[in-house]
Every structure is written in structure tokens, then in C-alpha cells.
Amino acid sequence: MSCHEVSFNKEALRSENQILLMGAPNVGKSVFFSCLTNIHVISSNYTGTTVSYMEGTLPLNGTAYTLIDVPGTYSLTATSEAEDVAIRFLSGNPEAILFVLNAADLEGSIKLALEVLDYNIPMVAALNLSDVAQRQGKEINVKLLEQELGIPIVPTIAVKKQGLNELKEKLEEVLSRKNRSKTGPFRISYSDCASCAGCSGCPKGTSALTYWERAKKIAAVSVKKTDAAPSKLDRFGDALLRPWPGILLSILIVLISLGVVVGAGKAMRSVLLLPLVNQGIVPLFERLFSSIAMPEMLNNVLIGQYGIFRISFEWILALVMPYVILFQLVFSFLEDSGILPRMAVLFDNIMSKLGVQGGSLIHIMLGFGCAVPAIIGTRTATTRKERLIVTSIICFAVPCISQTGALISLLADYSYWMLLAVFLTGAMVFVLISRLTGKMLKGKVDPLVIEIPNLLIPERKTYFKKFFVRVKEFLVDAEGPMLIAVVIAALLAETGVLAGISSFLKPLVSGWLGLPAEASMSLILGIIRREMSVAPLLTMELTGLQMYVGAVVSFVYVPCLSVFGILAKEFNLKVALSIAAGTVFLALFLGGVLNHIGIFLQILF
């Protein structure tokens, strides 16, 4: 019997035979989940990668159990959404808990483990990150720890799949023991309510403090400090956290990352992909279609200037793919290493001047990949105001990597200064939007409180798996909309519909923005995918000013259909519509103003 009030919750009780995977944030739960269920969950080296829960099947003793990846929490006091979710699952009568202890942060892990143990659910613990603990000169006496906590404990290094089989065996043991004697206590050292702390009905009424005291004692007896010198990696991690040389190192890391993505992306495009598309694939289709008799219009739709079989390869394969691949390679490394939370700390002062806190920097950087996961990630924000500000910044001022790739192709071929000018304009929009939304929205933004993880060298297998999953996700999620955009582009351009729309929009596109009338294509395609608003500009002969104005308009313009969908889902339709309308207005307004300033300057000089 548990002395905790159990609130019945239908959703949490949905599936039977549940095993909960629990632990503090960033201890590797998602890695366990991926390895045990073969469902890949994105894991990173910062807190809060799993903001909602995931479930997968885990066969044990011939029964199919549902393993649930519960979001990581520091305690079970229901102070955040993640903690609410964790408590709901604990109250849903699960069969067992697989608890992940962080060997490098034993005291904190034990404290949470003690809280979970009070729910009296059979538990097995993995002592993960034992390599990091060793690196830091901590020797953990597992036998003693098992005795103190009264549960089986298996040392593991999840990213290397070490200890996983033993962990499964222990889980099977605990489950079969439980089935034999449903009523008997499974724990050795405590009986049911003796250790319970703080349900409202409970006379004992202990607080968080006693958990910490007990955790401290247990950690003290089971950890022996060896006098290993701090490893190079830990010293580098500390240096990266100090203002000097941390800020310089961070800037260098960002510049190197950018250099790799932009430089290698351009090289891949010009050396490999453009020749492949222009001299290989497209001529092949040209020959193929010319050998088949068909009406001219159909032929144009298929392989004309905007033909489906021409631009789908030119735009998707040669324009977008190289940058997406390289970005994911670089960003996955930054995520897994633990560099990002250090940047969040180093640049918290700048971010708080902009009305948010340093932790938002992680979401914003995620947004440079794709806005969708970035907006989902903002669930970890503690207030709605913060969430809305960061989301607005991502929608207005953070181009996704597909769009960045297209912008690089458009602008860097003209001049790197042009690229810089567009991104500086983007930075101004960033400041404007954060200030504006900060002023407009009611409520407050909580200051930064963040755990700084140990620096890790990403494990090769986990790293590449994540990379492939991300690229695959991109192919699955983005390919469809991109193809739809390509088909629409082909139909509009090659059937003459575009000419009609262009003449209708001419006052706006040519008169106000100073762009060629066909640029109306950008405004139409940009609604579907961000990079598709840039791509048509590549085929036009543009002056420097037109290029700058066109790039700025696409930069700010509608954040694509998928983002609109996620905004409506995560917030509501009103938020989605306001942000979409806001971006359209700002893009056209800013573009027109910049165009007229440009013309004015040209007259002056």
C-alpha cells in the first residue's frame, strides 16, 4: 500500500504493463529508451530534450511491456509541466521503474531516486555515465549503494551500450519476483511508510530537505574519491564556462561551425551537385521527354525553365541538401558535447537585455536548423511570455538551414558583403521583435537557472545515428512540401497563370519592392516552404539592391506551412495567424522601405 494520494488519470493509465524510465534531466534516459526499444529519440547533452513523453515496446519474460520515457525532473513536487507528467505516470500503477542514476552527480540522482522510491513501485537502477565519474576520480561502491537504496543497480555506459543486457535481466528478475508475491515489500531497507515524506495526509510531513540529507549520507558512504587529476576535457569544460576565455572560445566555435557549413556546403554544391544536376540528371530528362510526343505545355511543365524535373533537382538536391546535411553534422556535435548550455550561461547577459534568458539561446540555435523542433523545445520555458517571445524571434528572425542555404547560394555568389548585410538586417529584426513582443505581452520572464552538464566527446555510434535520423526526418517531413511547391511553381510558371498573378501584384512587387514582376512567385511559394521564396530569385537577373531587398523579404516572410501548423497546435490559431500576418506585413514593409532608401542613396551618390 502506498501512502500517497493516487489521482486517477485516464490518459496515463491508457496502456497496461507500463515500465517507467525515469531520472533527472540529461542523465541519458533517451539513450536507454532508444537502445531498449529501437525507437530513436533525439538525445542531446543539455536538459530538457524530452519535453513530452515517448513510449515503445520492451519485451521482458515473454511479455510485451510498454517502456515510457518520462521527461527528466529534479524533484517530484509538481512545480513544472514535466514534473506533473512524471507524477501522473507514477500514480498510474506502473509495473516497474527503470531509474537512471547519474554517476557523476550521485547526490542529486539519489535524492530524486528516494522521492521515486516512496511511490513503492518495484525499481531497478542504472548507474549511468560511470565513465564520466571515473574520469572525475570518483569510485562508486555499487554493492553498498544497492544496500542503501534497497534496489538492484547496474553500472552502465548507455551510449556504448554497456550494461544494457544485465539491466534487462535485473528488470526481468524484479518483475517475476513481483508477480510471485504481489503484496510483499520489494525493498530491503525500508518498509512502506517509514521513509515516506510529505503527502498532505501523512503525519510525518517531511520536506525536500530530508531527502537531500539522506541522499548526502548515502552518497558519502558509497563514493570514494581517488586523486585522479582533472581530465583535459573537464579542464576545457571549465575554461569554456569562464568569461575569459569562454566567450572567445564560443565565438570561435560558432565561426568555425559556420565556416564548415558555408564553405563545405558551397564546395559540395559547386564541385559535386551542380555538375551532377546540370550535366547529368537534367539533360537525361530533357532527352527522355523530347523523345516522347506530348503537347508543348505539358513538356514545359515537366522540363521547361520552371519544369518539375528541372527545378526539383536544382532546388532540392543542389540548393538545400548540402547545407542541411552539413548543418546536422555540426549541430549534432555541438548538442552532444555540452557546449550549448555553456553558451547559454556566457551570453545570458545579452539575452536578458533582449528580454529573454540565456537558456532561450539553445532554442534559437535549434531554430537555425528548423523552426518546428525549436518551437516544440520552447515548452521548457517557465512562463508563457518567454515562450511566445522566443517563438516570435524564431519565426521572424531565424532562417532555417534550408533557407540559409538558399540565401548563401543567392548572395555569396554575388558578394560575401551582401550576405553579411542581409544577416545584419536579420539581427536588427531579431532585436526589434524581442523588444516589441517583450513590451506587448503581459507577464514576466523568469531568470536563468540551469544545470551545466559535463563536457562529453560525442560517442560515434550515437552521434551518427542521430545525424541519420535527423536527415531522414528532413527528407520525410520536408520533401513532400518541397515537391508540392515545385509542382505549383511549374504549373504557375509554365501555364501562364503566373503572368496573370504577377501583373496583379505588380504595384506591390515592382512598384513598392522594386523587384521584377515574376518575383511574385517568391511570395506564393514562400507560404509553403521558406527556402522556396529564395529559390525563384536565383533564376532571375537581379541588381545588387534587388537582391538585397528580395533576400530580406524572404528572410522575414511567412515561416512556412509546417511552422504555421505547429504554432496552431502548440499555442492556438490566433497566435499562428498573428505571427503569419506579422511576418508578411513586416517583410513587405521593411523590403519596401529598404528599397526606397536604396534608390534614394543611388540618386544621391
Binding site: S75, E107, G108
Partner: protein
């Protein structure tokens, strides 16, 4: 003698005397009586970083100013 965490000298160990009412702090391990080491301070309104027994955390200026500490002896 107690002073707030934001203003005390870095590189020294302190005992926490009082904390603001923020659940996240205590669940991360910052509460009355705990020994912490102030590691870094970040200028221009940045946070402070501190080491607890086994973890490192960063605390924003506004919160750090409300955490009272005294020097550990």
C-alpha cells in the same frame, strides 16, 4: 555576517543562509545550510555559476541577488 551570492567574492566556499521562494532552486540542491562554491560571475547583468556537491549550475542575477550566503569556515 551574510551577503548575497551575487556580490560575494568568487572562488570561495559559502554556506547558504536563505533562498528566495523558487522551487527549482531547492530541487536542484540549493537550500539553507548547503555548502556551495562560487565559480564565476558574468559581467553586465550575467548570472553566477556555482558548484554544489556533485553538480554545477548557473543562476541568473535576479535570483542570485536574493540568495544569502555566509563564508564557510
Amino acid at each position: 555576517m551574510s551577503d548575497n551570492l551575487y556580490h560575494v567574492e568568487k572562488g570561495k566556499e559559502y554556506i547558504v543562509v536563505d533562498t528566495p521562494d523558487l522551487k527549482l532552486l531547492s530541487s536542484m540542491g540549493v537550500f539553507e545550510g548547503v555548502k556551495i562554491r562560487k565559480e564565476n560571475i558574468y559581467k553586465f547583468g550575467g548570472p553566477v555559476s556555482v558548484s554544489l556537491a556533485t553538480r554545477k549550475i548557473a543562476i541568473g542575477k535576479e535570483v542570485a541577488e536574493k540568495i544569502l550566503v555566509k563564508e564557510a569556515v
